[in-house]
Structures are given as structure tokens and as C-alpha cells.
Amino acid sequence: MIGSKVVSKRAFDEMIQALAETSDVVAPVSRGYDRFSYREVKDASTLEVDGYIPTLNPPKKYFLPPEEVLVEFATEDEASVASGARVRAEPRIDACARVLLGVRTCDLKAIRQSDEAYKDTFEDDNYFARRNRATLIGLTCLEPCDEHAFCAAMGANDVEEGFDLLLTDWGDDWIVSVGSERGDDLLETLQSRAVTEDDRARWEVLQGKREEAFAPSAEKIVPDLDALPDLVGDSEDSAVWIENGDLCLGCGRCNLVCPTCFCFDVQDDVSLGLSSGERKRRWDGCTLLEFALVAGDENFRSDRKDRLRHKLYHKTRSTFDRYGEVFCTGCARCFRTCLVDIYHPEMYNALHERLGGES
């Protein structure tokens, strides 16, 4: 849908510069080698970079940092924290106001999905302390970022919600959609004009071009999006898992860079004096060997193929059952990071084909 306002890029940039004075503004920044990372910026100039591919780590790092302290604890009298002495435990939440600039629609979708999981039954205060202070300024993709992205197949190249503002390149201007009150307030501070009939006509043309550009991305996956949960759910013994499991390094990279992976491990560290310490959580991944290990060394997913399958099962069947959606945005980070080129669309297609589906 076309946005409601048109803002000049110059004015928008000035607003970002002003914001950068009072809060953290982050945006994708080139790391060389055609790789990008969210880093702190001072203005909106990085938005002008042509076609950056999704950042190495998704923006989830701002809401669920790779490592964070959850609890700080200490005894009162220098006694060891594990001695049975009474231990004072305090929550620790570090959060700051932050503007995420230039968030691609796939990542916007992922953030919305993570929000849902982190709200489910118990609201994770650490996550939401940061999430609630974040302003999301999205960026519409005019074409797929590269030939691997399958966002269109996952319906993530267009979003209707999950942002404060969403920008679309309009030459010297941005067309801006407002997704929240916070976004509205921001836009208020800017000189803008309403979209005109002219704009609408141009928009239609643009949409046509976009559709054409995204067609290959949409065709990456043969079966329907809604068919994926059954496809993965009912394929426990498929040779697809064995073949890919043989290739898989079990290195966990795909988990870690996935915008909708949010599992973690918890570990305690103590000071050398033993009288204080921290309980930390850090990113974990279900493709890692000991993820499902329990007492008596029983491992519920001891093979690489089982863990690979579990990962896809969780992205499709589990999340579909619980939230009515497949938790994959087609950003293809998992593929780009994978050293043995395991590609989710290929696995879906192979499962589909083996079930006699048409290709």
C-alpha cells in the first residue's frame, strides 16, 4: 500500500541527525566483502547504499544481545555464593532508546514474530525493555537483495505492520508509511506533503516493476507457504534430512544468524573472590550437539540430521501451530552463512517432490 506522506530526503536526514544526538541510531553499514552489519551511525546516508544484503547478524542483537547479564548476585559477608549463605539477587536490564534505521521488510517481519514468542505467556522483561524503546524505520526493497533471497516466497517482501515508519525510495524524497503512534509523532516533526494522484500513478508502475523483480524470489519454493508445516511435519524419515545432514557441519551458524532463532543458554560466572557473580544468557542453537542433552547423557537429537530437521520443524510446524505463521522470512542469511550451501528452499522442494508434488 502506498504511504501517506512524502518527505524530502534532506529533511529526513536532518531529523536522523537530530535523533542521533539523543539516542542510539543504528543502520546497516558496509563491512567490505559485500557484507553488512548494524552499527551506530550519525545520519541517514547509509540508506543510499545500493542494494545491501541482509546484515550478518539480524537486528535481533539489539533486543536479545549475543550475551547479556540477567541476574547479578552477591552474598552479604564475602561468603561464597554457593556455600548456602543468603545471596542477594538483583535483576539487570540494560536498555536504551534506539532508532533502527533502514530495516528491511524481512527483518521487520522477524521482529514482529520474535515479539510474539517473547510475549507468549511470560513477557521477557529484558527483551521488551529494549524492544519498547526501539523505533523501527523500515525500508522497502525495490528488488530482491540478491539471487538467494526467497523473501517473496515467504511473503516477507511487503509488510503492513511491525514498523513505526516505512520508507520507499522516491527519488529525492521518501514515501513514508506510518505504522504506529510513535511513527506518527516522528513524522509530525517533519515537513511533508500528502501523496498526490501523480504519486499514485507512479506507485502503480513501481509495484508492477517490483512484482516482476520479485518473481524469481517468489518461485524459489514450489509448494505453497501454508503447505510447509505439513510438508516438514510429516516427513520425519525423509532422505532429504539424511542427505543434508551428511553435508551439514553442525556448526550452528545458520541458527545464530537467523532473525527468528531466539534460543539461549544460561551460565553463571563468579568473581575470583567467589562472593559475587552474574547469571548470563547467550545465544544457543538447536543444531548444536548438546542442545537437547539431559540427565544420563540422553540426547533427544543426537544426529546432525535430526537437529537439522528439528530446526526446520520448529520454523514451520511448531510456530504455525502456535502462532499461525511460518517463522522464516526468506532473508537467506542461513544460506549465505552456510559453508556447504544448505538452502532451505531446496529442502522444501525436495520434500515436496518426493511426496509426489509437482515442480
Partner: protein, 274 residues
Amino acid sequence: MNVAKESSALYVPEPAQIIDKEAMTEEETWYHLRLESERSLDHDPGQFVGVSVFGVGEAPISVTSPPSMKDGFELCIRHVGNVTDILRGLDIGDWVGIRGPFGRGFDLEPAKGKDILFVAGGLGLVPLRSVIKTALENRSDFRRVILFYGTRSPDTLLYEDEIAQWDADPDVEFHLTVDMTDDTWKHNVGVVTTLFPRVDFDPKDTVAYICGPDIMFRFVVQQTTRLGIPDENTFLSLERRMKCGVGKCGHCQEGSVYVCREGPCFSYAEVKAF
């Protein structure tokens, strides 16, 4: 940048003191704990708490006392690793951290007016004890109460006093078995499934609550299914690795559920679905 510190209770254990403790076997110790806040735990039978030894970690442990117990609560812990080994060395008066109760416990509602079958294997008696006691406290709500308990050997029996009571109780059909033993043993010898032929069941009107190692489930469920106890009247408690207890860390995922949040107690019908 303006860094905010906020308070959050989700991951922060609260202090609890060991009021009493007793070694039950070589490997297991029973604890009576009380929260410093004197808040009552208000748990459902089958729910668990996170027990923290700071600097070492947290372990999910089932509450073994019935909800009717108001002065603190009880745990029974097997010493198998980091947290649980250190707990062994703690004394009366010492402190630990507690979060919870978490998860979904056993629902006794479906068993009202019906026969109850409890099957406990080894440490599985710990969570079941809370349900058993609750059922016995409301004995008139149920018809027969059948209780199977199996352990490795006589010296690994938990709650020996209570077992003697159940054994003596005319209202409880109690059957005990051990895997191996010597001649002095007066009960059954063999795995817990060998107890099934000893009892006449009214399967349509029996509700089963089962807890024990994963391998035991499989064999016990074969029996209940064979008898014809409906899957939705067969309840299990699953053990999975857990790091958060609140359905976030992902470790306990099984099929489409987080065992810590939607479980650990499930009907067999639910378990089959994943």
C-alpha cells in the same frame, strides 16, 4: 546513552531457606524449604520450581509436596551433577534460590468419579507424590486408587514411611516392585509393567498418571493402551533440558510445544501428536 535499569522477576530467584532435610537414599535427599517472603508456592501437583545454587546454576525440580501443605514446600533431589551435588552438601538453615512454580501440572479433574492408576518409576515418584497425596486428601472424589511403584532395588526406595502407610491403607491398592533384590523382599520383583496383570482394571473408567524415565513411559503406555485406557485419560510428565522454565530458551521443545510451559504434564493423546 541513557541506559535504563529496570526490575524484573522473571529470571530472578527469590531466597528460600532449608527448614529440614533428610537423606532418603544414597543418591537422593528430601528437603523442606520455605521462601523468605513467606509467600506460599500455590503450585499444582506436577509443577516444578527452578532451584538455584548461585555461581553454579539452576535445576528444574518438581514440587513433591501437595498444594495443601502451606508451610513451605518439599523437594526430593537426586544428586547427579553440578547444582544437585552442591545441594547435597547444604545444611538446615542454608539458603537457595527459587523461581516458579512453572509449567502445567497434573489435572485430577478427569479422574473425578473414576478409578485412578498411578505408575511411578524411580525418581518419578517425586512429582507423582504431590498428586497422590492430593488425591488421597480428597479420597471420596475418586473410586479405586491403584498405585504402582517400581525402583531398581530395595535400597533405592523413596518415602519408605509413606509407602508403608499406602501399603497398609485399605483404600489404596498399592503394588511395589524392584528390578533386582535378595530373598528378604516380600513384594514383586521385575520391571513396573509386570504389576499390570495383578490388577483387574475397568479401563474405560480409569485415569492413569505416569511418571518415570523416558524408557519406562514407552512400556507402561503399551500396557495402558493394550488395556484400553483412552489416550486422553493417560497422563505423563516429561523431562527435558530446561534453561529458563518460561518457554523462551528453546531447550525443552518437543514437537510444537515447550515442555516447561505447556507441560511437563501432558496427556498421552497430546504426546502422540508431537
